[in-house]
């Protein structure tokens, strides 16, 4: 099986086949001696050569993370033949959406539509788990639209505002 794997933004070409519990593996043209056991769901005991690794797999909000020991990597796997997998990063262009990073309540809206903002200017204050957090602008620009008002409950992924 041929995979295109993206790890923290870098692409890898991975040829991987399993036969009677043994693996053959070519990563970016380099042959690797691989031995893997799924210890339990989402936990892989991996050997490459004689180096041993504990790998944890995690899905958060649709994203796949792989942990090699204590280091986290964002991962995406595509099988070119079946065109499985997703592309991403496309909707980062154009006006930036300010997304609620957590469920919570909007405590204060600090600006109005049409206000100018610098990178890092606070736009709203949210409260969750007894903590208040300022939601900041990800870029310099003008606030095109604000979708929430004070006291509103929001969910992660909800669009709070758009900066252009």
């Amino acid at each position: 099986m041929l995979y295109s794997v993206n790890i923290d933004g870098k692409n890898y070409r991975l040829e991987l086949n399993q036969f009677e519990g043994r693996w053959s593996c070519i990563l970016n043209g380099r042959q690797l001696e691989v031995d893997a056991v799924l210890a339990r769901r989402d936990v892989l005991s991996l050997r490459i050569g004689n180096k041993a690794y504990e790998i944890k797999s995690e899905h958060v909000a649709g994203d796949l993370h792989l942990w090699v020991g204590s280091t986290r990597f964002a991962a995406e796997v595509r099988d070119p033949r079946s065109l499985r997998g997703r592309t991403r990063g496309l909707d980062d262009r154009g006006p930036k959406k300010i997304i609620a990073p957590m469920p919570g309540k909007v405590i204060r809206v600090l600006l109005h539509e049409g206000d100018e903002v610098a990178l890092g200017t606070g736009i709203a204050v949210m409260e969750a788990m007894k903590m208040q957090n300022e939601i900041k602008s990800p870029k310099k620009g003008i606030i095109k639209k604000i979708f929430v008002s004070e006291g509103a409950a929001v969910n992660p992924g909800d669009v709070l505002a758009i900066v252009e």
């Binding site: 990563l27 995690e58 090699v68 007894k130």
Partner: protein, 499 residues
């Protein structure tokens, strides 16, 4: 001894107290809000009573409901944990009036200490060392300006009813005083329903060191050594250790004796903590007394070998302290990491949700006090403290080494936690040298993190990603539960909207 104790709390501390009850052969009654039905403390208790909706004011802070559960269950004592009603003198009084023993100090001792300004007035009489400032709330901006000018900037504004950094503001210059006072007052009002704010001289780069005391109801008061709590973010403690690396036996004795004097001045009983600011010349100033068990009590337990919750219960049951000051034996070093559901890579935003995978550390020198389990859905409604990981060692270096090892074993999948923050703190050069002050963490976090991309590890991740794909992971089970979690948040959000 009590037959049945009601635990008026949730999360890891409810589990902690529950364990003490089980160990002492006492039945444990718990209470829970609607979103906490599946909590560990409910599952582990002997009896569990629902007390209302998620909002703490309608459940964990509702005195009438909790006393009603005490009555129905026949509990003869109540342990309040920390937070919630633990420092509420009205609650302590209501327990006494209802004939249920409150496991903690009396309402009057609490009242003496509950208001920072009142405590200051009482302690001044007892000759306790203080940071210069007002002993009562300031009435007006003008008064604040006068006081600040007389003690000299920088000054610190503090809520009289405060705690946890709420209503606290550092003011470096007169021009900032007015707005800081207003925002401190409004935060104090919001957090404690009490807008009283007072002024102290700000000690720059102080250490925050606190002394554990224990007083029985027969007049015996002892101190159990100090805890170094200088590692804070937004005035919230993040990592605590005992003993403090800068406190030697002589300084410990002096601080301990002041702490005992503070407790005795208030006729204090049960467990309490006297907080001090320590300046760079090792002068210590009384800050406040916390009239409850502290989050960080385990580090004291590990270096003294004592169980503070057992002792709290024994004291409340009228037993005398089973040891004298001379018999308190401090050995080794302990460090606690507060594991929060928050995202260190994204400004420490809270991160509730479903825990899809939990690998928990154990082994030599590792204590884990936890309220979470695999499959549990961390609610959005409360403090994000999930667990405490505490490392003990023969010395500080070994405690750090064991804790670092254990943090490497800890994995909480599905939500974000601050575990990586502790890995960073524990390998920090200044932390290892014990060069600590309350500004340490902000300072450290300003440095760009040394994120050397390990290209070998990235390659390993690529191989692993392929293997998971071949083996059919993501397993349908795990991604399905992820969706459940997010839709649960959505419905929680909708519920809020409809209220």
């Amino acid at each position: 001894m009590f037959k049945k104790i009601l635990i008026a709390n949730r999360g890891e501390i409810a589990v902690r107290v529950l364990r003490a009850c089980q160990e002492m052969g006492i039945a444990a009654v718990t209470v829970y809000s609607d979103v906490d039905r599946a909590s560990l403390h409910v599952r582990k208790s002997d009896e569990a009573y629902p007390i209302g909706p998620a909002a703490a004011s309608e459940s964990y802070l509702n005195i009438a409901k909790i006393l009603e559960v005490a009555r129905r269950s026949g509990a003869d004592a109540i342990h309040p944990g920390y937070g919630f009603l633990s420092e509420n003198a009205k609650f302590a009084q209501a327990c006494a009036d209802a004939g249920v023993k409150f496991i903690g100090p009396t309402a009057s001792a609490m009242n003496a200490m509950g208001s920072k300004t009142k405590a200051r007035q009482a302690m001044e009489k007892a000759g306790v060392p203080f940071v210069p400032g007002t002993s009562r709330g300031v009435e007006s901006v003008e008064e604040a300006e006068q006081v600040a000018a007389s003690i000299g900037y920088p000054v610190m504004l503090k809520a009289a009813a405060g705690g946890g950094g709420k209503g606290m503001r550092l003011v470096r210059a007169a021009t900032d005083l007015k707005s800081a006072l207003e925002s401190a007052r409004s935060e104090a009002e919001r957090s404690f329903a009490d807008s009283e704010v007072y002024i102290e001289k700000a000690i720059l780069n102080p250490r925050h060191i606190e002394m554990q005391v224990l007083a029985d109801e027969h007049g015996n008061t002892v101190y159990l050594g100090e805890r170094e709590c200088s590692l804070q973010r937004r005035h919230q403690k993040v990592l605590e250790e005992a003993p403090s690396p800068i406190v030697d036996p002589e300084m410990r004795r002096r601080m301990g004796e002041v702490a005992v004097r503070v407790a005795q001045a208030a006729n204090y009983t049960n467990a309490g903590t006297v907080e001090f600011l320590v300046d760079q010349q090792k002068n210590f100033y009384f800050l406040e007394m916390n009239t409850r068990l502290q989050v960080e009590h385990p580090v004291t337990e590990l270096i003294t070998g004592l169980d503070l919750v057992h002792l709290q219960i024994r004291i409340a049951a009228g037993e005398p302290l089973p040891f004298t000051q001379d018999e308190v034996l401090i050995r080794g070093h302990a460090i606690e990491c507060r594991i929060y559901a928050e995202d260190p890579d994204n400004n420490y935003f809270p991160s509730p949700g479903k825990i899809t995978l939990l690998l928990a550390p154990s082994g030599p020198g590792i204590r884990r006090d936890s309220g979470m389990y695999e499959g549990w859905n961390v609610p959005i409604d409360y403090d994000p403290l999930l667990a405490k990981l505490i490392g003990y060692g023969s010395d500080r270096e070994q405690a750090i080494a064991r804790l670092t090892r254990a943090l490497g074993e800890y994995f909480v999948g599905g939500i974000k936690t601050n575990i990586s923050l502790f890995r960073r703190i524990l390998r920090d050069e200044n932390f290892r040298l014990a060069k600590l002050d309350t500004g340490f963490l902000d300072q450290m976090l300003k440095q760009p993190e040394d994120k050397a991309v390990d290209s070998n590890a990235a390659g390993v991740a690529a191989v692993a990603a392929g293997i998971f794909a071949v083996l059919g992971a993501p397993s349908p089970a795990s991604s399905a539960s992820g969706e459940q979690a997010s839709s649960k948040w959505k419905s929680a959000g909708r519920r809020d909207l409809l209220r």
